[in-house]
Symmetry: C2
Subunit: 245 residues, 2 copies
Amino acid sequence: MSTIRGARERARSEVTAAIKDEARRQLAADGAAKLSLRAVARELGMVSSALYRYFPSRDDLLTALIVDAYDAVGATAEAARATPRGSSGPHPARWTVVTCAVRDWALAHPHEYGLIYGSPVPGYTAPQDTVGPASRVGLVLLGLARDAYLTDGLAAPPLAPELRPEAERMTADLAPDLPPAVVAALVAAWAQLFGLISFEVFGQFTRVVEERDPFFRRASRELARSVGLLDGRTAGTGSTGRAMS
Amino acid sequence: MSTIRGARERARSEVTAAIKDEARRQLAADGAAKLSLRAVARELGMVSSALYRYFPSRDDLLTALIVDAYDAVGATAEAARATPRGSSGPHPARWTVVTCAVRDWALAHPHEYGLIYGSPVPGYTAPQDTVGPASRVGLVLLGLARDAYLTDGLAAPPLAPELRPEAERMTADLAPDLPPAVVAALVAAWAQLFGLISFEVFGQFTRVVEERDPFFRRASRELARSVGLLDGRTAGTGSTGRAMS
DNA sequence: TCTAAAGCAAGAGCAGTGCTCTCGTTAGTG
DNA sequence: CACTAACGAGAGCACTGCTCTTGCTTTAGA
């Protein structure tokens, strides 16, 4: 129905997309701080006030870009998981395919990455619209763990007693079919993964790490190990998951 | 000599400090994006142009705040290491004392933390002045690993062949007295540590991790394990460091 | 089919920003 | 004592986000 009722609405969505595209261009060129509504409007041949028909404020434009960036990196992770190399073979290798894909996207889009995993730029509180797209990468990693658990099993990592309640809470929220120890370790690995990527994208590795590809691959492998992913040859030997749940 | 020659120079350094203090206040209140030279000057009772006698541009003022923030978090880490609980006892416990201190500082100064470990705000290239202060936390962690290596030994983590050249390069640069596998693992753990802290400070754990203290402690312990820190009871059993170097 | 309503672009304008330049003035140096 | 260099103040430029008003066009309803 939106195609027939279109006409005006289609024009609107086209202009909206053009604004976001130009904004993304400026974001990639100069960074989020220099992104200017007036410059976007100027480049699009309209006057700045016209732009407010589409985005009520600069922060709302930025929020739209944030959602898009979350979706882009999420789609990248999901695509890597659907790849032949990402959906078969030893589980740590699949894990590494996904993490490397995320890292590659981050290095290719540093400013968009900074928008979502750097300091929160806008009014300090992330809008509600971002929570869905923001979880896509995490869900892919969770899916990898679930796959491993259902096929070859998992070497469930240790779970300190004082963390058990929180681990069980996270498990109920995120993946009731996985052992709490695995879920807790996976959330930690998720954050640590983006620590590695952020340090690389934000230049913290300058003059410290030079050969970053093997460095990241090793760290990613260790991360997979920390959530208990087995490489198949040792299939099942450490599967204590069900017993611990 | 600077005390006698002072008078004017002392006044200058006092004004400089006052500017930085007020800027830090505004930074903590509203974030780096909203920090305004004019507002700082206004609050200090001077006119905005006078402020340019002390900082040639807004980015230079921000850079000064960045250096100060690096120094603050570095000093925090060093102080934690010098603490009784940070300088004795099992090595993973010492490690956790330091990492928790860094985390506490970050949670107490979120905007300053974002300034140094979030998206690079200024002209995209970090000035040379920041490399020294920026490495202080890393050096503390390195010192912890060295202590462990010299007393109880280290369970040197695995080192993939393709990472060996880079690991040896990093070792020559950072800590020639440590096994390359440990140095490589430590650099990775360093980045992963700030991934955990950043996710917490930047709100990525909202509605995901609730009980964050035990969560962080567990992750920190695992990080210590990943660099090979032993807890003393198993002293020496896994010390393969010298053999691998 | 005609009309009222809603969506839209444009322009002027406000308050605020970073930054530059030009002035007197004041404080340390030879 | 005279000189120079540092300093604070002010005006001003180009820019920003954002608001309000003014007309025009498209859409929807009687």
